[in-house]
Amino acid sequence: MASDAPAPGATGRPRLAVYKLASCDGCQLTLLDCEDELLHIADRVHVAHFTEMTSLSDTSEPFDVTLVEGSVTTAEQREHVRHIRASTKLLVTIGACATAGGVQALRNWRDASEMLRVVYARPEYIDALATSTPISDHVKVDFELRGCPIDKRQLLELLTALLTGRKPAIRDESVCMECKRAGNVCVMVARDEPCLGPITHAGCGALCPSYDRGCYGCFGPHEAANARALGTWLREAGAPAAEVKRRLRLFTGWSPAFREESERHDEG
């Protein structure tokens, strides 16, 4: 983690870049969804590259902070991410695709040669790797922001912290902690509703339980997640192996903790 505020660029303001790889654009849209803050951010930061927002692209000197959404799914993206790393002081990956491979990482469990044969009518037109992987598999990442999509409050906290040179106040705890603070009745205890809250990283504000459904793990595992215990519990509560596997393999299924536990329930 960086301890110092990034040195300002030539405009006197820190230079921010936003890039995307394989993704839905939702995480970068989160920045544009900061309706109350956007123009203030633009006053404080020089948005040097962000194709969804601006036709200006100023790549003349390194960026201070670069946000990247999306996973690496093509050879070109693999090169691109190295180039991005070389052109920025701080690299922040945002969202489930960039930090865990995203929903498109479901392809990682499939036989690549079979995929190529079955999936493409004209494979020569397409450039695709057999896997979808997080950016940290390819280059050094300074900070990861979780979620599918990321949370606006966490994004603003991260940008503020980076620009002022302090550590972002983003807690590594489970959704359960947020859920208790929200005063929700536990959906798993009260309604036998399978919930990944105990093993999922906080940040959404315990959204799914607040809307009367179990958490589907879109922020990925928190650091101390005991996925094995939850997997066992779900099985004992009557969920078939295939269902437990499916629930773990969704938007952050390729994260090591969810991946390993899902493979334990892989009965073919």
Binding site: G26, Q28, L29, S55, L56, V103, A121, Y125, R213
Partner: protein, 440 residues
């Protein structure tokens, strides 16, 4: 097709390698030689993500969460089209209050998406800025108005769905939880103010200079049994032709793979390129607009059949008025439903469903097995349908570009593409399905 023997003819190429202020990654090339277009391509190089492939073997209850991830700008469109298709397969119909809530959350998405497009992506084309941020230096009130409207749309989605991007409450049969009447009514003041701001937006958009350019479009939109087409519809209307039943749309509008795009091109069976989106909806359904939208449309003299794509920004603004005004009516009339959703038992079945995404018709088809697992999925997004039309527009535009300075001509192409509000991430995910069919 490129012709390289044009040694004596003047050849000009207009091209942008990475389109900006659009959703996703694309480029275009327009090559003219001796006054004749030799190449027009909207290139989509966004990496494919193979949604239909990994939807297979997922539970029917997971589909709505998964397809949201196709697009961060219009996740609700994907959720609603999937819900319709799955409900038609399962033979269930949400109750009237739940259908009203669906229209309401969809209004929120139209607002969020249209406000983003009108003010942040498209307005800088007309006013001559690289982005809304630079534009705000001279037009602060305008940009702030756009952001305020966008925020109101997002607030509506957040209340109903939990969050603005990839909401969590929509499900088969309705919602996991319905909002209280009290919470919903807290939005009334913002919505009422926004109706006025949207009217102002129509008046402002109508004053923008649009290059002269008219196209004889084939307009495609959903039928409007429940009002201006949004969250449902039983047939697909095609201007100048017979309507197409929902279940037949996949065959009526076959998709083709082309070398320069990771998205498929859809055309009518006879090869005609068509247009879907705001202009098509207005053409088919002007009389179904909310009176607030119809009034301001008449006030600025906007015709129902807009044939100049550079004026789509005005049509989008009219739809903003409609979405805010209808949302306000729905909030006023809201009664809490007895149950937030209607139960649906799994069964082996096939179902098609379509809704109107902000940028046009979005058609889904699912095949389920007896346990409710997906056997097959097919998704036809608006931008893959508009892609062929965009290329034909570029061809038609070419003669008007030759007298212009190069930069201006290139910008005019870019502005034309942006007028469609292309959603490139959406368009990209659909390679595998059709291809698998061919392989089988």
């Amino acid at each position: 097709m490129t012709r390289d023997d044009a040694g004596e003819v003047e050849e000009r190429t207009f091209a942008v390698d990475l389109l900006t202020r659009v959703e996703g990654e694309g480029a275009f090339t327009l090559k003219v030689a001796g006054g004749e277009v030799v190449d027009a391509r909207l290139k989509i190089f966004e990496a494919p993500r193979f949604f239909e492939a990994f939807l297979r073997e997922r539970s029917m209850h997971e589909v709505i969460d998964v397809v949201a991830r196709i697009c961060g700008i219009c996740p609700i469109a994907y959720q609603m089209s999937a819900a319709r298709a799955l409900e038609r397969a399962l033979g269930v119909e949400p109750t009237a209050p739940l259908l009203a809530l669906r229209r309401l959350i969809y209004c929120g998405e139209w607002i969020e998406s249209h406000a983003l497009h009108v003010f942040m992506l498209h307005a800088p084309d007309f006013l001559g800025y690289p982005s809304a941020v630079e534009m705000a230096a001279d037009h602060r009130a305008l940009v702030e108005r756009g952001l305020r409207m966008k925020k109101t749309g997002n607030a509506l989605i957040e209340l109903l769905g939990g969050r603005a991007i990839h909401p969590v409450s929509p499900r088969i049969g309705g919602f996991s939880k319905a909002p209280s009447r009290r919470r919903l009514r807290e939005l009334r003041d913002d919505l009422a103010r926004s109706v006025d701001e949207a009217r102002e937006t129509v008046r402002w958009a109508a004053t923008l200079d649009a290059p002269s350019f008219d196209v004889d479009y084939t307009f495609v939109s959903l039928s409007g049994e429940r009002g201006y087409p949004l969250e449902s519809g039983e047939t697909i209307l095609v201007s100048g032709r017979a309507p197409v039943a929902l279940d037949d749309w996949g065959d009526a509008s076959p998709e083709m793979q082309v070398p320069h795009s990771t998205a498929l091109h859809a055309r009518l069976a006879d090869g005609t390129a068509f247009l879907c989106g705001p202009m098509a909806r207005l053409h088919h359904h002007a009389e179904r607009l909310h009176p607030a939208a119809a009034e301001v449309m008449a006030e600025v003299g906007l015709e129902r059949s807009v044939t100049n794509p550079y004026r789509s920004i005005v049509v989008r603004a009219v739809e903003l008025v409609h979405a805010f005004a209808e949302a306000l009516d729905l909030v006023e009339a809201y009664e809490e439903p007895e149950a937030p959703y209607v139960d649906a038992a799994p069964r082996a079945a096939v179902g098609c469903g379509a809704t109107e995404a902000p940028r046009g018709l979005l058609w889904h088809r699912y095949e389920l097995d007896a346990e409710g697992l997906v056997r097959d999925a097919r998704i036809v997004p608006p931008t893959s349908q508009n892609q062929a039309r965009i290329e034909e527009d570029l061809v038609a535009l070419a003669p008007t570009l030759l007298a212009l300075p190069h930069e201006e001509a290139t910008h005019r192409c870019e502005q034309l593409i942006r007028a469609y509000d292309p959603c490139i991430s959406c368009a990209t995910h659909f390679l595998d399905l059709r291809i698998e069919r061919e392989g089988v």
